[in-house]
């Protein structure tokens, strides 16, 4: 497989992983009630 194809697949994987990480932190904030009123 050529280097551009590897880069493109890597890009897709990073995008999905980054999305999952952000989702994890969002759920953490949500469960801790950080988005609620003081």
């Amino acid at each position: 497989m050529d280097i551009i194809s590897i880069f493109l697949i890597f890009d897709s994987v990073v995008l999905i992983v980054a999305t999952l990480i952000l989702t994890y932190f969002f759920i953490k904030d949500f469960l801790k009630g950080k988005l609620n009123h003081k």
Binding site: D2, I4, L8, I9, S12, L15, I16, F25, F26, L35
Partner: protein, 481 residues
């Protein structure tokens, strides 16, 4: 194109999920600040998700442009915006949050006067019209389900009005998180499947014109420059401002925008290469794409290509990704337009003593007005990119000078400078544009001296603005005022 029953079920599930999220978001609303800005409680993850998904709405236009110009799409619809977003993060974001306001017209009144707020509200309202995105969804519904465009638009309108009106900004940001996940995952899946089916870079080099693999994409310098100027949109984008106002503290907007740029880069690489693969697959005879009069491919190009590489279920996720990209922008823009009507025009221009309850009621009416106005425009316009371009050109020419001048020119500014520079920017860019559209060549407008309307528009606004500030200083110096 025919989609499988399972994909239809997945899309239906997505809409049910939206309704559930909106239902729970509604419970958090206790007052007007909650309805407008989610109580200014946005933490970093939700700030990023809502900004990334809202700012990225023109997915069908990006599909057309990446097909048309290859890597040129990444330059014109990506790189320019990263630079502007970076500048926004470094120089504007914390100032906006610290101002503790609600809207761009709020800023205009703070910098100038009520007349500037009023005029700014009108252009702000036009700038946030969800019309291009409603049109895109109408096109998608027509394409997927074979219903007429107007039926697609009415369906979108009904769903949108229901959950935005019901749950306000809380509903918008929570549904945005859901849409963000679908958007990222759905779009990220296409390129690996395309590589698996058609092959790697050698497939692209064999079937793409050389210009598609060049960063300019074979676009003229003038065309590249005008897209660069349209990226100034970022500085007056009400969605950016609203999210900065809603952040929990003044550090979140800067950090959030910087991380968002990372997401946009990763996402844009996927969308640009998907468009390029679509071109190559069409050239190689694997799919059939219709080319429009202006040289762009049909707006459905992404879906036609994705359908050729994705299996059922994954195709359903991809379609939700496309729909989510649009819905997340439409709901935010509709709420922003409604805030213009209720907060900027109703309360702060005509009825300063209005109670929060009255403002909330007018906001709900504003949601219906904004969505209906957008849908009406969507029914009469047919080109998504041309709509973007027209709205962007006139509204940016009008708003950018007084808004940025207000933030960065420290000297005292006469109140009239705001409204007059807006009139100059709007007037010149509109007249220039009307002239261009009355002389079409191959579907594209031909302008005076072949100069795009945004340049004379911004120049006129800037000259009037500086002239008024300059003359007021001279008069002061001479003791006239």
């Amino acid at each position: 194109m025919e989609i499988t029953l399972i994909d239809v079920a997945i899309i239906s599930l997505y809409f049910i999920l939206l309704a559930i999220v909106a239902y729970f978001a509604k419970k958090k609303i206790r007052g007007l600040t909650d309805y407008f800005l989610a109580g200014r409680r946005l933490t970093l993850p939700i700030f990023i998700a809502t900004l990334v998904s809202t700012w990225y709405g023109g997915i069908l236009g990006v599909g057309q442009y990446s097909y048309f110009s290859g890597l040129g799409n990444w330059l014109t619809q990506g790189i320019f915006y990263y630079i502007m977003a970076l500048l926004f993060a470094l120089f504007l974001a914390h100032k906006i949050r610290k101002s503790n306001l609600f809207t761009i017209p709020d800023q205009l009144e703070k910098f100038y006067d009520k007349k500037s707020r009023f005029l700014g509200s009108i252009f702000n309202f036009i700038l946030v019209t969800p019309a291009p995105y409603i049109l895109s969804l109408g096109v998608i519904f027509m394409f997927l389900f074979g219903v007429p465009k107007w039926i697609g638009i009415v369906i979108v309108l009904a769903i949108l009005i229901a959950y935005t009106l019901y749950s306000g900004f809380y509903g918008v940001i929570y549904t945005d998180f859901l849409q963000f996940i679908f958007m990222m995952v759905g779009v990220a899946l296409v390129v690996p499947f395309a590589i698996a089916k058609y092959g790697g870079f050698e497939f692209l080099t064999a079937n793409l014109p050389e210009t598609h693999l060049h960063i300019t994409g074979g676009l003229t310098t003038q065309m590249i420059l005008v897209w660069g100027f349209i990226a100034f949109w970022t500085f007056v984008d009400p969605g950016f401002y609203q999210r900065c106002y809603a952040a929990k503290d003044s550090k979140i907007p800067r950090k959030g925008i910087l991380i968002s740029i990372g997401f946009w880069i990763l996402f844009d690489i996927c969308t640009t290469f998907t468009g390029m693969y679509a071109f190559a697959a069409n050239k190689a005879g694997h799919i059939s794409i219709e080319i429009l009069e202006n040289g762009l491919p049909q707006p459905e190009v992404y879906m036609i290509f994705a359908n050729s590489v994705l299996p059922p279920v994954i195709m359903g996720v991809f379609l939700i990704g496309i729909i989510a990209t649009l819905m997340s922008t439409i709901d935010s823009f509709t709420l922003l337009g409604a805030m213009n009507i209720s907060h900027d025009i109703y309360k702060n221009t005509f009825k300063p003593d209005a109670t929060d309850k009255q403002v909330m009621k007018v906001t709900k009416i504003g949601i219906v007005i904004t969505a209906s106005f957008g849908a009406t425009l969507a029914l009469f316009f047919s080109g998504i990119i041309s709509m973007w371009y027209t709205i962007g050109t006139v509204c940016i020419s009008t708003l950018i000078v007084p808004v940025l001048g207000g933030f960065f020119i420290k000297t005292k500014k006469p109140p009239i400078s705001g409204v007059l520079s807006m009139i100059a920017g709007a007037g010149v860019s509109t007249v220039w544009m009307i002239n261009g559209y009355s002389n079409l060549s191959w579907g594209w407008p031909v302008y005076w001296f072949e100069i795009e309307p945004m340049y004379p528009g911004i120049l006129a606004a800037l000259l009037v603005y500086l002239f008024i500030i300059g003359t007021s200083k001279i008069y002061k110096y001479k003791g006239v005022v």
